[in-house]
Amino acid sequence: MTDKRATVDDMVGELRNGMTIGFGGWGSRRKPMAVVRAIVRAGITDLTVVSYGGPDVGVLCAAGLVRKVVFGFVTLDSIALDPNFRRARQEGTIEAMEVDEGMFYLGLLAATHRVPFMPTRAGLGSDVLRVNPGLRTVTSPYPPTDPVHAGTARPETARAQPEPEPETLVAMPALQLDAAFVHVNRADTHGNAQVLGPDPFFDELFLGAATRRFVTTEKVVDPGRLLDEGPIQTVTVSRLFTDAVAEVPGGAHFTSCPPDYERDETFQKQYVAASADREAWADFAARYVQVEEADYRAAVREGASAGRP
């Protein structure tokens, strides 16, 4: 079987300016940050970034490499907002496609399933349709049916509903990606990938939606050895969806990657503080972004032992 081991720089070497790139993880959780840093080093620009957004979006915006962000939110979790993303939006330096986070999921699912769209109620009536004039609705070809249950509808509300017409729903278009990157706890040399933390997020679908599929991992193990690490249900990505695997310990830092490590809250605060002005950001980026991975790790260790401000 094919040995898919590669380096992050090999992976990023396959990217081209103008590509649409998806990043797995969620907010400031299990983000492929080593890849983000490698993209900044390589200066791949004019990117469309598709993400349940966290500092991946912020760092790439701060580096001036982003043309457009496709998102439902951008957050650092323990800190609500990412200042670099905010600035890019407020200064109008990036385009935006903002959709409901469930629509986002269905866009990845549609791309994975090779269908042009998925229908959903999400978005109806909201300004998501106003700010994305390309979004369309679709009318069901089937007669209306009663739902199998009423959900939380109060009896008086349910009674007040008229006989439903055929449903007209939002047609969420497939979010097709040129490349996707996810960071996981373990992977084997063939590209099976394992999430030992509580939530696999939407990583499988990012890989499913992409032409080139890249996994970075805390640790690469031999084929057949993933079950030494956790039960079969934790191996959420099969090699069918993976082109290359890179071992990058700490590859999600400063975001969380449980059970290997939690979010580096001190470092995240420093990231936010440095984002406040251009000079501070330039210093931060020189030390923590535009650097080789080994130098990054050394700088983080040095910063931690020096008791970062």
Partner: protein, 265 residues
């Protein structure tokens, strides 16, 4: 070496604070819901959901804020090892619950308007916002799929506005305009603010003052609201926490006083 954060003196016997009144007002939002997933955002709604489950809604389903549902009802500041988990609920599965309607969320609103449209995406022109906020998140889908309520800790003309800048959560007027697929499961229920509780039980689904918190003047609510509220002739006072509820809030659920950080006295 770590030090314990300073804890406020126990206040048993003292009158309920505004924050405690708001916890109970939030809890009341879930009354009658039975076995649905309560998804509270903010400390006071989170305390409200836990209080509801410990008292009048024992079948409510609560998440641990990560990827699981909790069988127990621990304090807000509980550590991971104090949680008893009952089921797996990663983000992807939340959509099965959400779109099947078995959920009542209480989101925050940076802006809310008279028909219950809510904004947490951006202030100003969306194309180039004056202030970029977190994003629409799941608000569009939540509001047309299951019961949705809002918590606004700072009631003012900046938060209670004539028209929200970006409709994230869908209100009654916009749902009606969008047609029957939008109204079919649309159910915006309550807004709770630091000044009162509000609903949409009016003929034209405009926001109505449901109850006013103790020690708040009607004029204060009207002045702080950027649109014309429906105000009944006789506005009830929001009920006070019972002694048992105060005991639960102060000593069981929130001894660390998170409610006072969200809503200082």
């Amino acid at each position: 070496m770590t030090t314990e954060p300073a804890r406020p003196e126990p206040r048993t016997g003292q009158a309920a604070t505004r924050a405690e009144v708001c916890v109970v007002a939030c809890a009341e939002a879930w009354r009658g819901d039975g076995e649905v997933m309560a998804s509270p955002f903010g400390s006071i709604p989170a305390l409200g959901a836990r209080l509801a489950r410990l008292t009048f809604e024992p079948d409510l389903v609560l998440t641990d804020g990560e990827a699981a549902l909790m069988a127990n009802t621990p304090p807000l500041a509980a550590k991971r090892d104090e949680l008893v988990l009952e089921a797996w609920m990663p983000y992807r599965r939340v959509f099965d619950v959400l779109w099947s309607g078995r959920r009542h969320i209480m989101m925050m609103a940076s802006q809310v308007d008279r028909y219950g449209n809510q904004n947490l995406s951006a202030i100003g022109d969306w194309a180039r916002p004056k202030a970029q906020l977190i994003g629409v998140r799941g608000a569009p889908g939540n509001s047309v799929n299951h019961a949705t309520s809002y918590w606004v800790p700072s009631h003012s003309r900046r938060s209670f506005v004539e028209h929200v800048d970006m409709v994230c959560g869908v209100g009654y007027d916009r749902a009606a305009e969008a047609g029957s697929s939008a109204t079919r499961f649309h159910d915006v229920r309550f807004v709770v603010s630091n000044l009162g509780a509000f609903d949409f039980d009016t003929p034209d689904r405009r926001m109505r003052l449901r109850s006013i918190h103790p020690e708040v003047e009607l004029g204060e609510v009207v002045d702080a609201t950027g649109f014309e509220l429906a105000v009944p002739a006789d506005v009830p006072i929001t009920r006070l926490p019972t002694p048992d509820e105060l005991e639960l809030i102060r000593h069981t659920l929130d001894p660390a006083g998170a409610r006072d950080h969200e809503l200082p006295a």
